[in-house]
Symmetry: C2
Subunit: 268 residues, 2 copies
């Protein structure tokens, strides 16, 4: 599985499009320390990095490629917890849970990962405040996402789940392009970063149901061509917004959004 293993070089970071959350605000010295303790490795799609029940050994930083974290049971059922790409980390939360890993980690697209030893992370948290806060923010954000996932499965219809997922991807990709030098501040188009069956599983439904939800959502002003999603108008996804998501929405201030939950003082 392992094709390549070297000491991580700082310039690998420069190649990443957006600054990874794990390293924000760290001193040069701190960064050096992390890099020197880590190794780079390549993995093939399909490889199981971590199995459910394994003792966590490393934190994995994605330089290139895609992973997913999941839970599985005896009858072959799988629940995809997270789907992650470039600049994201995994196993950092598991490291601080006592006991073996509650999740498996699978390589979805051929990936280059930076492996940071678990022991190093645990020590480093105690010596670097900024790093500790970074970790806290990351785990906290995972928890928020998990709460949304619970919410979705408990009280949302398949169409609502897909709509909310689209809304998030749309907002993510808008903020990405604004950070880079693209001029287009409000793109009406975005892409599905994973194959549909994986997204379906993440949303707690079968591929068939996902497909049917897509054809429903097409009737709501959203064009779907393969991986490309195109909105007919900027408000097309506002149906699916909720109070805490509206807060990050650039349209929320423009008072003309017909569905925005921040208007009319909606309380759930």
């Amino acid at each position: 599985m392992i094709k390549n293993s070297t000491i991580a070089k700082p310039r690998n970071f420069a190649e990443l499009s957006k600054k990874p959350q794990l390293f924000t605000g760290l001193s040069e010295k701190a960064l050096q320390q992390i890099l020197e303790s880590s190794t780079l490795q390549d993995y093939k799609a399909g490889h199981l990095l971590v199995q459910q029940g394994d003792q966590p050994t490393h934190v994995y930083f994605i330089v290139e490629g895609r992973l997913r974290t999941l839970r599985a049971n005896r009858d072959g059922g799988e629940a995809t917890i997270r789907m992650l790409g470039q600049g994201e980390v995994c196993m950092e939360a598991v490291l601080f849970m006592r006991g073996p890993s509650p999740i498996a980690v699978q390589v979805v697209d051929d990936a280059q990962l930076m492996l940071i030893p678990g022991g190093f992370i645990k020590r480093f948290v105690l010596q670097d405040h900024q790093f500790a806060t970074n970790l806290l923010k990351i785990v906290t954000h995972h928890y928020k996402t998990a709460m949304h996932q619970i919410d979705a499965m408990a009280i949302k219809s398949p169409v609502q789940r897909v709509g909310y997922y689209f809304l998030q991807k749309h907002m993510e990709q808008n903020s990405d392009t604004q950070n880079s030098d693209t001029q287009n501040s409000d793109t009406m188009e975005f892409e599905l970063p994973f194959k549909k069956s994986t997204i379906a599983n993440h949303l707690g439904m079968t591929p068939e149901t996902f497909s049917r939800a897509l054809s429903q959502i097409k009737k709501m002003g959203i064009d779907i061509k393969g991986e490309k999603i195109r909105l007919k108008d900027a408000y097309a996804l506002c149906h699916f917004c909720d109070l805490d998501t509206a807060h990050e929405c650039t349209l929320a201030t423009k008072e003309d959004c017909p569905h925005c939950p921040t208007h009319a003082g909606i309380r759930y």
Copy 2:
């Protein structure tokens, strides 16, 4: 709603049966600082401490009573995220998410809470390593629980969800009694700490379905009398165990458990 408000006194902690995770390993000085910044308040059952979309202001430490955290939508649907009692905290994770609270917090049983100002917590995390690690462990544990909840709703049957919930409560209450001076090391009995309809909602099912799941589970060697659950034998709940839970099980080492996933090298 507020019946009483005083500066928190240290001796309130002494009254708590088990040492709360938030304060473990802190110096006397650190504890003093926290107590001096906090206030005690009483709340009536039903009160909404925090609404979805509110900006978080405090961390709530439960001295007495019960709370639940939940998400709700426009159509009246509710998803219970956590149900918490004495010695537990909430809003500590939300504090480190950017933006407004994704959850509401409701008082379920009349409660006495210690309110720790959010700003204090944020500052204190940067100055006290132990406190930072405590928080990291707490949030990380919430995340683990949330992953179990996702798993449950995605790939478990109602009966399996109830069984797994029972298993957890059983293990919790066993470890509690071992810490205190009770001799009975392996109790066959435990109690449901919340009313059934709340548990049902937390498990992502209707009260009717929960009730039917209970009658199924009675056939598996588990007696249910109101709030009291009594196991016919110590292994009655082992059906519902998984790899990461087995790790904390006192029976797992005894190789005679017929269902334990740690035996026979089960891989999911």
